[in-house]
């Protein structure tokens, strides 16, 4: 196995996104093709320059990427669809990165897109007998992790609420977010209880949308933007012994995991990139539920176990803090189109490193990290540098 950091350097040739929200009269192929065209324009490239396409989505069915690309034009290139739950776009990005690094292709498209199903969505992670017992309520799955985290660290429900308040504050500065309105601690604490102790505003909202990336070798770059390089892109799909209730995985008491899937994917990413958490200037963490951002930051190595609530209160994770986290508002503000979500995170890192994040720009951001998780389970870490 050849380490990826010994292979060809891969750079971000172009990026594209749509405004995330609910769209009754558009489908995933509309968002997907719009994001692709935006990425092409950003890259200053022609459609015929693209040599392969990896397309992430979760609920769109057979050939979903083909449907999006058909809107632009079939050109004989291979189109591969990637369904990897909430890590789908990070997984598509990783495949694009690998094929350019391995010099199989020079210019490759990665796109993530989703029109979320309307109404309740039954999870495929749960067996029929578990569905009959009501185990498939995602906030309830997270609530079970949250109460153990509270017991272990002394974190409070106010701490969880402050994650929502912070991310919605950041999201107010993101014109592509579904929610661009700030909320107060009171708003969160007075929102409806969903699964004790978690309330509605501890859960990220859903959304429709897409994000697209053109990855290429450095000699194929056409745009005049600051050059952003892929320093690492890792994927860990579960480890034995670690519990992950949202994917219906119960931990082993006899053989607990030595390292969680998040820790393992982060370790591999830091090793490949040659950076540690102390070198990261901007972070997109996985805040599908507000408390998850806290243990996510701990497992990614940004602080010690149990320290995140304290650092959050100190403002360390604010836009102008020492470790700015979810600068675009996170899942809490962007909304969660499953197949596109990880792409939204990577898109924000590229903007930050290019210095194009406008009012939410982190000063002198040189290295950024995006972390997506999700059912499977999966943990995908992307590190970009400039």
């Amino acid at each position: 196995m050849k380490p990826l950091n010994e292979m060809r350097e891969v750079v971000v040739g172009g990026i594209g996104i749509t405004k995330w929200g609910f769209y009754e009269n558009a489908e995933w192929y509309d968002f997907g093709s719009e994001a692709i065209l935006n990425a092409l324009k950003d890259a200053g490239m022609e459609w015929k320059d693209i040599q392969a396409a990896f397309c992430g989505s979760v609920y769109q069915g057979t050939g979903s990427g083909h449907q999006a690309i058909k809107e632009i034009g079939l050109t004989g290139i291979p189109i591969v669809n990637v369904e990897n739950a909430c890590s789908s776009c990070a997984s598509a990005f990783r495949l694009a990165y690998q094929t350019v690094a391995a010099e199989i292709y020079d210019i490759v498209l990665a796109v993530g897109m989703e029109k979320m199903p309307r109404g309740p969505i039954p999870s495929t992670a749960f067996r029929p007998w578990e569905l009959k017992l009501g185990f498939n309520v995602q906030p309830a799955n997270y609530a079970n992790i949250a109460v153990q985290y509270m017991e272990k660290t002394g974190a409070t429900i106010e701490d969880f609420s402050m994650v929502t308040v912070k991310n919605r504050r950041h999201g107010a500065l993101n014109p592509n977010a579904r929610f661009q309105k700030q909320v107060t601690l009171e708003d969160v604490m007075n929102s409806r209880l969903v699964a004790t102790p978690l309330r509605l505003l501890h859960c990220c909202p859903l959304a429709d949308g897409a994000a697209a990336f053109i990855l290429c070798s450095k000699n194929k770059l056409k745009s005049k933007h600051k050059v952003v390089t892929v320093a690492a892109s890792t994927l860990t799909s579960g480890v034995y012994g670690e519990g992950y209730p949202p994917a219906d995985i119960t931990p082993s008491l006899n053989y607990p995991a030595a390292m969680s899937l998040t820790e393992l994917s982060a370790k591999q990413a830091y090793e490949t990139a040659g950076y540690g958490p102390e070198n990261i200037d901007v972070v997109q963490a996985y805040d599908t539920m507000a408390p998850a951002e806290l243990w996510d930051l701990e497992e990614l190595g940004f602080c010690k176990p149990g320290e995140a609530p304290h650092l959050l209160r100190e403002g360390i994770f604010d836009l102008n803090g020492r470790i700015p986290v979810n600068t675009d508002g996170g899942l809490m503000s962007r909304g969660h189109p499953l197949g596109a979500t990880a792409g939204g995170q990577i898109y924000e890192i590229v903007l930050q490193l290019r210095g194009q994040a406008g009012p939410r720009q982190v000063k002198d951001a040189k290295v950024g990290l995006a972390h997506a998780m999700g059912a499977g389970p999966n943990s995908a870490v992307t590190i970009l540098k400039c």
């Binding site: 309740p120 969505i121 039954p122 999870s123 029929p128 007998w129 578990e130 569905l131 009959k132 017992l133 009501g134 185990f135 498939n136 309520v137 906030p139 309830a140 609530a143 079970n144 992790i145 109460v147 153990q148 017991e151 409806r192 209880l193 969903v194 699964a195 004790t196 102790p197 978690l198 034995y240 012994g241 519990g243 209730p245 219906d248 119960t250 931990p251 082993s252 008491l253 006899n254 053989y255």
Partner: protein, 147 residues
């Protein structure tokens, strides 16, 4: 046809023993690996240990008592229309002393639920259908509420 008599139907077969005698109590049925000693609930039908990948699993009866690892009171009905029990309901995990964590519903007074609290297995109604048939399941109940 139930001739007007209401039936008691397990929500799912094979999760627990049904005692033949009145003074016997039900047990959850799990799997134990004779190679690595790993334990599973529910039992693994294929007999393959997902820790050591050997086909060395044997069916075992699990302890009736354990401690609450975590719990939540769910106030939102589950998606998909598969769940017919009451809402709110209590859902979480119980650690059994031999070393296996069990995903479960809890019954009894929700105020008596606490992390590390002692609980015992019960077989209880989850819901009744229009014909009056009772669908029953395993649940765990705080020990202080047991007779």
């Amino acid at each position: 046809m139930n001739n007007g008599e209401k039936r008691i139907i397990p929500l799912t077969e094979g999760l627990y023993t049904l005692p033949a005698l009145l003074d016997e109590k039900p047990h959850l049925i799990g799997s134990k690996c004779s190679n690595c000693n790993e334990l599973y609930f529910p039992k693994k039908e294929k007999g393959l240990c997902i820790h050591c990948q050997q086909k060395t699993l044997e069916e075992v009866e699990l302890s009736r008592q354990g401690k609450i690892a975590s719990f939540t009171i769910v106030l939102q009905p589950p998606a998909g229309g598969f769940y017919h029990g009451p809402v709110p309901y209590a859902y979480g995990y119980v650690d059994l002393p031999e070393g296996v964590r069990v995903e479960t519903q809890f019954t009894g007074n929700f105020n008596n639920l606490e992390i590390d609290g002692d609980v015992e297995l019960v077989i209880e109604k989850l819901y009744e259908n229009a014909e009056g048939d009772e669908f029953v399941t395993y649940k765990f109940k705080p020990l202080k509420e047991q007779k």
